[in-house]
């Protein structure tokens, strides 16, 4: 467990250094995530070594954003005054994104099928 955790943290660490050092907008952990995929492709045995710890982390992923979520108590005033606008933006945008994503996927599949 400790070696796997050390490797995951190293990917994050390299990601943070790269993000800050190069002034990137991509968060360090996301760069770490890409490093993980790349490293597993180069060395598939690494995936097997990391897998048990990764499984444990991902199984409890929801727990990890509880502390940030509780932060809403400090912003209740904003949610009260702008609640309607926020709700409108969230719902319309989410429905649109689902519809557009699915329609484009099906559209491109159909387009490619016609050429084959």
């Amino acid at each position: 467990m400790i070696p796997a955790l050390a490797i995951l943290l190293s990917f994050q660490l390299i990601g943070e250094i790269a993000a800050r050092g190069l002034g990137l907008t991509v968060p360090g952990p996301v760069i770490g995530m890409m490093l993980l995929v790349a490293s597993c492709l180069i060395r598939p045995s690494l995936a097997e070594m990391l897998r048990p710890v990764v499984r444990g982390l991902l199984a409890n992923l929801s727990l990890f954003f509880v502390p940030a979520g509780v932060g809403v108590v400090a912003h209740m005033a904003e949610f009260r005054s702008d609640g309607l606008a926020i709700a409108l933006a969230l719902t319309v945008s989410t429905a649109l994104a689902i519809a557009v994503g699915a329609l484009v996927f099906v559209g491109v599949v159909r387009l490619l099928g016609r050429h084959e």
């Binding site: 995936a47 727990l63 932060g71």
Partner: protein, 238 residues
């Protein structure tokens, strides 16, 4: 005998109490979620956040004091984000097989999510901080929080917006996609993963295995894509 007030004043200042409370609140939330038959509206995080918010209010505890204990849990977001690379790695063969439709749908869905939320936010006069907090709302929470921080948004607001987006997306996905007559499980899953991250992905897995795998791919790739496009799109609205 020591005064109960003294014990309380000792405990309320250390991290132990609020770390324990966070784990218990999540445990209760998870039990509610299971009791409700894993319905999206009974999201365990939502339940835990509500319980803790009430508890902080009742005990007159500030968020700052709470966070001193909860930061240990919060810290795990980083390594957990790195861990999200594993399902992506496991599903690379599916990505290769449907590369073009997948990339097209990912780009279209991701752009739609960011642009449309900002258009509505701007039109309804929401503050710049709220806009920056809303921009990454379709991305998985750990990544969205990181993106919002970089954009000058409020990470705690983003955390809640991300949750609400996931819950809403998970609830409407099936009726909406049926209405649009989309029967390809890959398209259905991918679009939900891109628009409604982990909560949408969990819902997709309940409906269909292929949809779930594609939702996971959508969520993972969108985390990377939103981190790149959200700052660019937001700049157009400032």
């Amino acid at each position: 005998m020591t005064d109960a007030a003294l014990i309380w004043s000792y405990l309320s200042r250390g991290p132990l109490l609020w770390l324990t409370a966070t784990l218990f609140a999540y445990w209760i939330g998870d039990r509610c979620f299971r009791a409700a038959g894993r319905q999206s509206w009974a999201n365990p995080v939502m339940v835990a956040v509500a319980l803790l918010a009430v508890l902080l209010e009742l005990t007159g505890t500030s968020y700052q004091t709470y966070f001193e204990g909860a930061q240990f849990v919060h810290f795990m977001l980083g390594p957990a984000t790195v861990a999200l690379g594993m399902p992506l790695f496991d599903n690379l063969h599916r990505v290769r097989k449907a590369l073009l439709p997948l990339l097209a749908a990912l780009t279209a869905g991701s752009l739609t999510a960011v642009v449309s939320v900002l258009v509505i936010a701007k039109a309804t006069g929401l503050s710049p901080v709220m806009m920056a907090s809303l921009a990454p709302k379709s991305t998985t929470a750990p990544v969205a929080i990181g993106i919002a921080e970089g954009l000058g948004g409020e990470p705690t607001i983003t955390a809640v917006l991300v949750l609400l987006t996931g819950i809403f997306g998970a609830i409407i996905a099936t009726p909406l996609l049926n209405l649009l007559k989309i029967h390809d499980w890959r398209a259905r899953g991918l679009s939900v993963g891109v628009a409604a991250h982990g909560i949408g992905t969990a819902r997709a897995f309940q409906v269909n295995e292929t949809a779930g795998a594609f939702a996971g791919i959508g969520m993972g790739l969108n985390a990377v894509l939103t981190a790149i496009i959200a700052p660019l799109v937001l700049r157009l609205f400032q």
